[in-house]
């Protein structure tokens, strides 16, 4: 049995949800056009992951084995709906940009995989650590992808209407389009695998 800090740490690199387990690619590719959207998506996913991990690990003895999966989905769905309504009220622009991918966190494979294979079999403390680690891993993964795509695809980085950085290069239109997402994602996956192999020969 490993400790809570270890459970937290594994989501950051060794079991990185996007670049190691290749989970949640649907949202990681579709939402990562703008850094702003990626930040919102990352935060939403961290929140949903941590809270559903916590609740499910608390309820794990009460949930009958036969209806495990439907119960998980109802709990995750409740948190996702809460996130969605909150965003819609306070940040309607971002809510609009994230579109269908926000409610789809409910069936995001990261959330379901962590809940089913980890949170439902462990203590609340470890479940929260795991959810936080995985969520932060996902968030920085999608942030890197969106940073590269916005930097080269738009030539500038704009967060909440304020230009953080811009340079004079002509933007590479392809990176904003879906194929660009796949190419950036594939290259980052290669870099990640390379670093991983370096670390453990």
């Amino acid at each position: 049995m490993s400790s809570a800090p270890l459970e937290f740490e594994k989501g950051l690199f060794t079991k990185h949800p996007i670049f190691h387990m290749t989970l949640g690619l649907c949202t990681a590719l579709a939402v990562s056009i703008l850094v702003e959207n990626a930040i919102a998506m990352g935060l939403a996913t961290i929140f949903v992951l941590v809270s559903s991990n916590l609740l499910i690990s608390l309820l794990k003895d009460q949930i009958p084995k036969e209806i495990e999966l439907p119960t998980f989905l109802v709990i995750i769905g409740a948190f996702v709906t809460f996130t969605e309504i909150t965003l819609k009220a306070f940040l309607p622009q971002i809510h609009k940009a994230l579109g269908i991918y926000l409610p789809l966190i409910a069936v995001n494979c990261i959330v379901l995989a962590r809940v089913q294979s980890f949170a439902a079999r462990t203590t609340p403390k470890k479940a929260v650590a795991d959810g936080l680690g995985m969520g932060i891993g996902y968030a920085y993964g999608i942030l890197i992808i969106s940073f590269i795509r916005e930097l080269f695809g738009n030539g500038s980085i704009v967060i909440l209407g304020r230009s953080i950085f811009s340079w004079g290069i002509p933007p590479t239109e392809l990176l904003v389009l879906p194929p660009g997402g796949f190419i950036v994602m594939g290259l980052l996956l290669a870099v990640f695998t390379h670093i991983e192999r370096r670390r453990q020969p």
């Binding site: 002509p170 590479t172 239109e173 392809l174 990176l175 389009l177 190419i183």
Partner: protein
């Protein structure tokens, strides 16, 4: 009499991969000569930048992946020259440079290097450039052809349009030396011609350099086209139909590029469905 016991192949020819590749390089020389003759230094610079950036990228990728640095000269030349020919002479030189990097690093080496690439590197890079920097890579469409402009088109903007006749000359060289058969081409021309006659639509680009270059040098690429005769016919037909479909809604250049890329992606499927079956196996419980 000397008897040799060996596994197949039993029919041997002196043709090797490197000889075939060098013949393609030779076949590409006529359009290169025509382009350099018409565009002078800018044309030459575009071609040289493409080839040089392909070679540099090849070396860089080898270096990064820890292999011995080896630049396969003929494939690099072919990719670089085809990409260069497809670009306008006036394009800023960083465009062909990035095109070469994309062609080798992403369209070729990322898939496993020469012989394993799914997409034709030059076409993938060309489409990438056209989508990303449309203003620098698109040209006025050529709508009028006569014999003089077929031989030497002074209005041309793209290198390959300098002389469609010289592209055809290179293509004929490949055909006469039997390096390409007409299977893909027949499918391609049918795929373009049939829907057009049904729609009663004229098709101006028949005699454009791009069309002829794609016809002889791109869809015939043995790496990115199917193996069997039937498969090659289907591949060509699909390319042709898609070209007609795309160029009715977009411009011809985008149409040609995307049609080839999409059919490239389908090659493994086509190969699977056109695999020849041994006759005796039908009905046998093997």
């Amino acid at each position: 009499m000397k008897l040799v016991v060996s596994p197949p192949p039993f029919i041997k020819k002196k043709r090797t991969t490197s000889k075939v590749l060098w013949s393609v390089v030779i076949a590409l020389l006529p359009p290169v000569v025509a382009a350099v003759y018409l565009f002078r230094l800018p044309g030459l610079l575009v071609l040289l930048t493409c080839v040089a950036s392909c070679a540099l990228t090849e070396a860089a990728v080898n270096r990064v992946s820890g292999k011995k640095i080896h630049i396969p000269l003929a494939p690099t030349l072919i990719t670089g020259i085809i990409l260069g020919l497809l670009l306008p002479a006036k394009t800023p030189l960083w465009i062909p440079f990035i095109g070469g990097v994309f062609a080798i690093a992403i369209a070729k080496e990322a898939f496993g290097g020469h012989g394993s690439n799914i997409f034709n590197p030059a076409i993938a890079a060309w489409v990438f450039l056209m989508i990303s920097w449309a203003t620098d890579t698109l040209t006025q469409p050529i709508t009028f052809y006569d014999f003089g402009s077929f031989l030497l088109n002074r209005q041309a903007e793209r290198l390959v349009e300098a002389s469609p006749a010289f592209v055809l000359l290179g293509g004929m060289f490949l055909f006469l030396t039997r390096l390409i058969k007409l299977d893909v081409q027949v499918g391609f021309l049918l795929g373009v011609y049939l829907p057009l006659t049904l729609l009663r639509a004229p098709f101006a680009p028949w005699f454009s350099g791009i069309f002829i270059l794609i016809l002889f040098f791109v869809i015939t690429d043995p790496v990115t086209s199917p193996i069997t005769k039937r498969g090659r016919l289907i591949f060509g037909l699909g390319c042709g139909l898609l070209v007609v479909l795309y160029s009715r809604f977009a411009n011809l250049e985008d149409g040609l590029g995307l049609a080839v890329l999409l059919m490239n992606a389908l090659v493994p499927l086509i190969d699977r469905f056109t695999k020849p079956r041994p006759l005796l196996l039908e009905g046998m419980n093997v």
